[in-house]
């Protein structure tokens, strides 16, 4: 077990390292230069050369990468070209908005999909199940930003439950932030929830057909105690793993949906930084998102081992 864990940890770090290399390479390949967005198009070649030297852009790419990496390990993510402030400081408030949105989305997914999945499986073939299945198919096939636009139109413009674009992270009131974020969170959560419902329903139904369920009935268990004591524990194993991996997807989804709801989170920062060729910022965000993905995969793997006794000690 310890050996497996150590192996997985090593792999995790290696993956992250690889991601940083790829991000660096990608940026050196795409055309464009940060100096032109900082100095404007009228800058003289001398000015550009001076700035390039200041930013360290005159160095060969491997040396730039090495400088960045050694600084990052020391906890210094560099300085934003555009905002002239440390990347860490720049990202912190944006990160809190994105993480809050992602966390809220995750809670919504769990709250929506687990009861619906159970209900749908329990009444499999009935009208409720059919309604859920159709709604599921529809929701699953709509991308989250389209859901976002629909929600903005319905709740923002028609019902006026919130004012689109009114979110500011300066509002320190958490309740107010949550009240606004519930709509983008719903946009992120709905397609994922649909998938989770479908998965949980299938998982429950397949467990119900297992031999051990017949054994459980033969001992005098009622239908609901068979469900709660026997079926769910087993049916949840793949679903929990799926949910843990979905967290990475949620973070990515949040970045897109932020644009629709004008939430000043990492997504906005990422897109403007790519436009401005603000390498240090882009690099930091890419690493952060990659870290979330890799860590969530790792967590999913761990959870799987904890929940399924057959995998313990392997």
């Amino acid at each position: 077990m310890v050996k497996t864990l150590a192996k997985r940890m090593g792999l995790l770090l290696l993956t992250l390292l690889l991601v940083t290399v790829l991000a660096f390479l990608a940026f050196s390949i795409i055309p464009g230069d940060p100096t032109s967005s900082i100095l404007g198009v009228d800058a003289t070649p001398e000015q550009v050369a001076v700035l390039r030297e200041q930013l360290g852009l005159d160095l060969p790419i491997w040396q730039r990468y090495w400088n960045w990496l050694s600084q990052a390990f020391a906890g210094d993510l560099g300085t934003s070209y555009n905002f002239r402030m440390p990347v860490g400081q720049l990202m912190a408030p944006k990160m809190s908005a994105t993480l809050l949105l992602a966390a809220l989305s995750f809670v919504l997914i769990v709250v929506i999909s687990i009861p619906l999945g159970i209900l749908s499986a329990r009444h499999a073939g009935g009208w409720l199940d059919r309604v859920v299945t159709v709604a599921d198919q529809v929701t699953m096939s709509i991308p989250n930003f389209v859901v976002g636009i629909a929600l903005t139109y319905l709740f923002g413009l028609v019902l006026r439950w919130f004012e689109p674009g009114s979110y500011t992270s300066a509002t320190r009131d958490l309740a107010e932030q949550l009240r606004y974020l519930i709509f983008p969170a719903l946009a992120v959560a709905l397609p994922r929830s649909a998938m989770t419902v479908k998965m949980l329903r299938g998982s429950i139904l397949s467990e119900m057909g297992q031999d051990y369920i017949r054994t459980a009935y033969s001992k005098g268990n009622s239908q609901s105690s068979v469900l709660w004591r026997h079926v769910l524990r087993n049916a949840m194993i793949p679903v929990v793993t799926f949910l843990a991996m979905a967290i990475a997807d949620i973070v990515a989804g949040s970045i897109v949906v932020e644009q629709v709801f004008a939430v000043p989170g990492l997504g906005q920062l990422l897109i403007s930084s790519i436009g401005n060729r603000d390498y240090p910022v882009v690099q930091a965000i890419v690493v952060l998102v990659a870290a979330v993905v890799v860590v969530c995969n790792f967590a999913a793997d761990l959870l799987y081992r904890v929940m399924d006794p057959r995998l313990k000690g392997r």
Binding site: R214, S218, G220, I237, P309
Partner: protein, 269 residues
């Protein structure tokens, strides 16, 4: 009479189609008796046991006739009332010990589950009785097994766990639905010994279902031969095996491999 099954018929319905699985089945059993049901696959023997146990989905089957257990017709009971019998008065063990246990529940929890459902015993007392039942089922180290999970056990041990779970409340009748078919011959003989012991010590009646005539002959006092859902012949083991009246029974007996030839003249125990 502990059990009287009269004119039992079971039909599976699916849409417009209906298939008769058991037709006009009659069987009487006394306390402590060991009765076998033999027949080829699809002869309706398992369906009979599952009907008796109340394991068939009522929406999918049509059952007629009566199953009187200790004077009560189980077929007239509500599902809730029937649960009072399941695991308490009537228990069942199945053919597939590998899949009949819940993979994510400990052995201990599964053995004492019937106690949790039917009694108000405390945790310690439940544990004590579970360990006792495990010893009765021939498991040699109950304490250590209590915390194990099914995948850590061999097929034979899992079947013993099933037996322990079935016996934990000392039911009057144990249904054994091909309990040794999936096990190898040595383990099979050991499990049969255990069932024999349980019948002798606890007085538990056993309805033993098998397609293996040799097994039924060695364990049972009476036997019922089934084919295509109907009883072909029934009587004491001696009667049926040594003086079969029906052609089908004769064919079934003749179809058994000659042991001496098969084993190269070596008797197995």
């Amino acid at each position: 009479m502990m059990l009287e099954m009269e004119h039992l018929s079971v039909r599976f319905c699916q849409g417009q189609q209906a298939v008769t699985a058991v037709h006009d089945f009659n069987l009487k059993m006394d306390e402590g008796e060991v009765v076998g049901i033999v027949g080829e696959s699809g002869s309706g023997k398992s369906v009979t046991a599952h009907t008796l146990m109340g394991l068939l989905r009522r929406s999918q089957v049509e059952v007629s006739g009566s199953i009187r257990f200790q004077g009560v017709d189980l077929l007239t009971l509500s599902r809730q009332a029937l649960r009072e019998y399941q695991g308490k008065e009537l228990s069942i063990i199945f053919q597939e010990p590998m899949t009949s246990l819940n993979p994510t529940m400990t052995i201990g929890a599964q053995v004492e589950e019937s106690l949790r459902i039917h009694t108000r015993l405390g945790r310690e007392e439940r544990r004590r009785r579970a360990l006792e039942a495990m010893a009765l089922a021939g498991l040699s180290n109950p304490q250590a097994l209590y915390r194990c999970y099914p995948h850590q056990l061999s097929g034979g041990m899992r079947q013993r766990v099933m037996i322990a779970a079935a016996l934990v409340l000392r039911p009057r009748l144990l249904l054994a639905d091909e309990p040794t078919t999936a096990l190898d011959v040595t383990i099979q003989a050991q499990i049969l010994d255990t069932l024999r012991d349980i019948n002798r010590k606890e007085g538990t009646a056993i309805l033993f279902i098998s397609h293996d005539l040799g097994v039924v002959k060695s364990l049972c006092q009476r036997v019922v031969v089934m084919r295509r859902g109907v009883i072909v012949e029934s009587g004491s083991v001696e009667q049926v095996f040594y003086h079969p009246q029906q052609g089908y029974t004769k064919a079934l007996i003749a179809a058994r491999p000659a042991r001496k030839k098969l084993m190269g003249g070596v008797e197995h125990g």
